[in-house]
């Protein structure tokens, strides 16, 4: 690699020149150096022999490099991004203002509680809001992402079964065949075997198959609701009864919460545990792949097992604190604290350092308070309205595997184009790129051939949706009239289709210094 390839934006290392730098630091004072001289020196044998070849660039060259790189990205703030399952909604900028407040951004996680009353109160209030939204009795903010929340949930399920003496026999976790890959991967991480339950022809879990699989060897069912097909489990009450009757834990993957705010509260319905994705439903920015946050809500019977320490109200009346906070006021005699390390001896232990991705809690809290009850209800109403609108507008051009009302996302199939014209969903996705729109999620869920999962979210205008419909119809027509054009797409992006096979066969995962 190197000389013969056209480079869109050189690596930062190419801009490096000896002696340049962007940031300088003071030198120690004579007083400090003199005082330090009497202390043990760093052992000579353990000093670094050669400095790391970090780039030496000016601040201007650094900034130009990263600005030019940023121009190579599509993003929500540039155009439509209907990536199903990810909830690519607009991230309000007031959330960023809040997260950067020095009082919050400079708070050290180990500061004595009396110096961190604001951080603790924010965590406590956010937990109260998430519990109210979801109907769960208790909650931990600790997990850093949805998959991390799943790990936490299954560890709690196992701790629960251990407390009842039948963990050794409960070795299986049931997951629908439409599940996100993190679900079975998490089961494996906790030492369970994942058993796949088929979906029925209406896109819900096959209840008979589920009942047949449930038994004394079932630790948990992990189910997404609405499902990854964007369809609400209309037998969810029977699903939950069956799981409870088998003595298993009911885990809800909360990735699709954007569809049901104010309409369905999983904790109230009977789930034992659910993870939230704050970077989906609650508008914290996706960041190109994180940071997210994956708090877990639980029923009373799992509360003892939550990872801690949890923020608690050590003094004061919780109703008064909430009433005042909803009016933007502090409660003078309220005192928050992190619970003692041994407060809940059954807790599963830490799943990460400190109390969680606090910067994302600030953003999510700001979002929930901005929207309020009416705003959050409207989020789901509009998300579901938008997805159903796209469903009916596109059903003429693409196969619709499940012809029924969907929720916040809809799954179409490109199988007609594949069979009739040899044009795959991948080809059509690449063609969408040329229209400055991010393609839907493709080839997921696995149970739909040539799947396209479209999630518009509630923050898009009707004009944007209509433009997407026109684009998709035009691509469907092109599949028939000019399939080669689609197979050559994208043509107008910074790079074309990349050779992923060679990237995996001959991995080049870092810059070779000295080779430029």
């Amino acid at each position: 690699m190197g000389g013969e390839l056209t480079v869109v934006e050189p690596l930062i290392f190419a801009a490096s020149h000896p002696g340049r730098r962007a940031v300088r630091f003071p030198v120690a004072s004579a007083v400090a150096a003199s005082a330090a001289a009497g202390q043990p020196a760093l052992p000579a044998a353990q000093l670094r022999s050669r400095a790391a070849r970090l780039p030496e660039v000016s601040e201007l060259d650094l900034l130009r490099h990263f600005n030019r790189l940023s121009h190579l990205n599509h993003a929500i703030d540039l155009g439509f991004y209907p990536l199903g399952s990810c909830t690519m909604k607009y991230n309000p900028k007031v959330n960023e203002w809040a997260a950067r407040l020095p009082g919050l951004a400079e708070s050290h996680p180990l500061d004595p509680d009396e110096l961190a009353q604001g951080s603790l109160e924010l965590e406590w209030l956010l937990a109260e809001l998430l519990k109210e939204i979801s109907g769960f009795a208790a909650l931990s903010l600790q997990p850093a992402a949805g998959a991390h929340g799943e790990l936490t949930g299954l560890l709690m399920a196992r701790a629960y079964h251990r407390s009842r003496g039948d963990a050794a026999t409960r070795t299986k976790v049931l997951v629908p065949d439409s599940s996100h890959g993190t679900n079975p991967a998490t089961a494996t991480m906790v030492g369970y075997s994942a058993v796949t339950i088929p979906s029925n022809d209406r896109g819900g879990i096959d209840l008979a198959a589920l009942k047949a699989a449930l038994g004394p060897d079932t630790a948990a069912l992990m189910i997404t609701n609405p499902s990854t097909l964007g369809i609400f489990e209309d037998q969810i009450d029977q699903v939950l009864s069956a799981v409870k009757a088998a003595g298993a834990i009911a885990y809800m993957d909360g990735a699709n919460l954007n569809a049901i705010l104010g309409r369905f509260r999983p904790g109230e319905a009977g789930f034992d545990v659910m993870h939230f994705n704050l970077h989906k439903t609650f508008s914290t920015p996706h960041g190109g792949g994180g940071p997210g946050a994956g708090p877990v809500g639980v029923s009373e019977r799992l509360a003892p097992f939550l990872p801690g320490p949890l923020p608690m109200l050590a003094d004061g009346d919780p109703e008064a604190v909430i009433r005042n906070a909803w009016r933007g006021r502090s409660t003078p005699d309220a005192r928050f604290a992190l619970e003692a390390a041994d407060a809940r001896p059954s807790a599963i232990g830490r799943v990460r350092s400190f109390t969680g991705n606090f910067g994302m809690f600030v953003r999510a809290y700001t979002y929930i308070r901005s929207n309020g009850d009416a705003g959050l209800r409207q989020v789901s109403n509009d998300a579901v309205l938008a997805a159903n609108y796209l469903r009916v507008q596109l059903a003429g051009s693409f196969d619709l595997p499940y012809d029924r009302i969907c929720k916040h996302e809809v799954v179409l199939s490109g199988r007609r184009q594949k069979r009739e014209h040899g044009v795959s969903t991948l080809d059509m996705a690449k063609a969408i790129l040329d229209h400055r729109i991010h393609p839907p999620t493709i080839y997921f869920p696995l149970i739909v051939e040539e799947a396209m999962m479209i999630e518009p979210t509630e923050t898009e205008s009707l004009e944007t949706l209509d433009r997407f419909v026109e684009t998709m119809r035009a691509i469907a027509e092109q599949a028939a009239s000019d399939p080669d054009a689609l197979r050559g797409a994208p043509l107008t992006t910074p790079v074309g289709r990349l050779d992923e096979a060679t990237a995996a066969r001959r991995p080049d995962l870092r810059h070779e210094f000295g080779a430029t």
């Binding site: 690699m1 390839l5 056209t6 480079v7 930062i12 730098r21 962007a22 940031v23 300088r24 630091f25 202390q39 052992p43 353990q46 970090l54 650094l62 940023s70 990205n73 993003a75 929500i76 703030d77 020095p102 009082g103 919050l104 708070s107 180990l110 110096l115 951080s119 924010l122 109210e132 939204i133 109907g135 992402a145 998959a147 991967a185 991480m189 030492g191 609400f232 969810i236 104010g262 996706h286 960041g287 792949g289 997210g292 502090s330 799943v351 990460r352 350092s353 109390t355 600030v362 308070r369 929207n371 009850d373 209800r377 309205l385 009302i405 790079v495 074309g496 289709r497 992923e500 060679t502």
Partner: protein, 434 residues
Amino acid sequence: MLSAIGVSSLDDLFADIPATVRATRFEVPPPLTEQEVRAELARLADRNALPRISFLGAGAYRHLVPSVVGEVIGRSEFSTSYTPYQPEVSQGTLQSIYEFQSLICELTGMEVATASHYDGATATAEAALMACRLTRRDRIAISSAVNPQVRRVVETYCSGPGIEVVVVPADLAAGGSGLTGPDVAGGILDAGFACLVAQQPNFFGGIEPMRELAEAAHAVGAQFVAVVEPTSLALLQAPGEYGADIVAAEGQPLGIPLSYGGPYVGLMAARMESVRQMPGRLVGATSDAKGRRGYVLTLQAREQHIRREKAASNICTNQALCALAAATYLTAVGPAGLREVAELSVTQARHLAAAIEAAGLGERRFSAAYFAEVAIQLPDAARRHAELARQGIVGGYLIERDYPELRDTLLLAATELTRDEEIDAFVAALRATR
């Protein structure tokens, strides 16, 4: 839109929710305008009493976040994009991760680095599980001088597949080295252990004999997992130089604000021969049909979206924007700047320890050389720490919170932000609490 869909009301779109499970309450407060929500967040921010002087570290460090870092991660092309599953429109994210991977390899002296993990503690836990997969063994050894929160997370992750965690006791007696003895480690390790985990500098700031600990691990065919503090790598040997097999680190010191504990960023690096057992995302270089260089997520057969229950880890969303912050930081400070940060931190920690000793207020608990954090023994530390806090001074971390046998000991950290006046004021205030 409703008529296009063929329904008459929004409620029709939710008719498939069984009546018995519909929400019966939703008592979220009413909406707030921008000025009202700003006032509410300002209220909470103001309720934090940020210390005017602080020597608190213990896993999270107060460093300068250069202004240019905020500019770069504030670009919404980076912050409002997602996982680069469509690489043609994600080259900004992908190339910046490739640069990040390159920088971490260079800093640690290792051959491959991942795109990031949630934090240093989970990166360490994933490294231990990776060692178990590589060696097909089911016990791990970890020094008691590794950060206690990291050890708790390792224990939790190991409880999943039933991996046994054995603690190697460091020499924590008063006047002892405060370090992990290679002989002690060697006495515990046998061919049943997948790895030995040690931290450099350790939780107490002590500089561990990493090369000898690596040898003790290798002597029984185990992997050596080095948990390192990234700014220290400007002065201390890179783990690749002393035989580390897997490296884990908390990347927060690299341009990421304290933010009450998160989001931070976990770093992981290893040798190329182990790459197929590495958890997390990896970005690789390749080209397109027109001969343009580009970057893609690669070796995805390790990951959950391909392998599902056979994946190396369940990790999906990681900490990409924080990794970008770290890459920007390392690029902004450069080798000279990182060296200055480390040297000033080291000098000020010694200045602090010397000032306390000269004032007769306390003494170093351990004899070994330390990096930029030092354990100081002084009478009645808990009461005095609380009194200082009431004055807006955080006198480090009270070690007995995690090590009950280490009473009356404060863990004090210095960084390049530590000023001489702060040390003087701290000594005076400490004296007044006697």
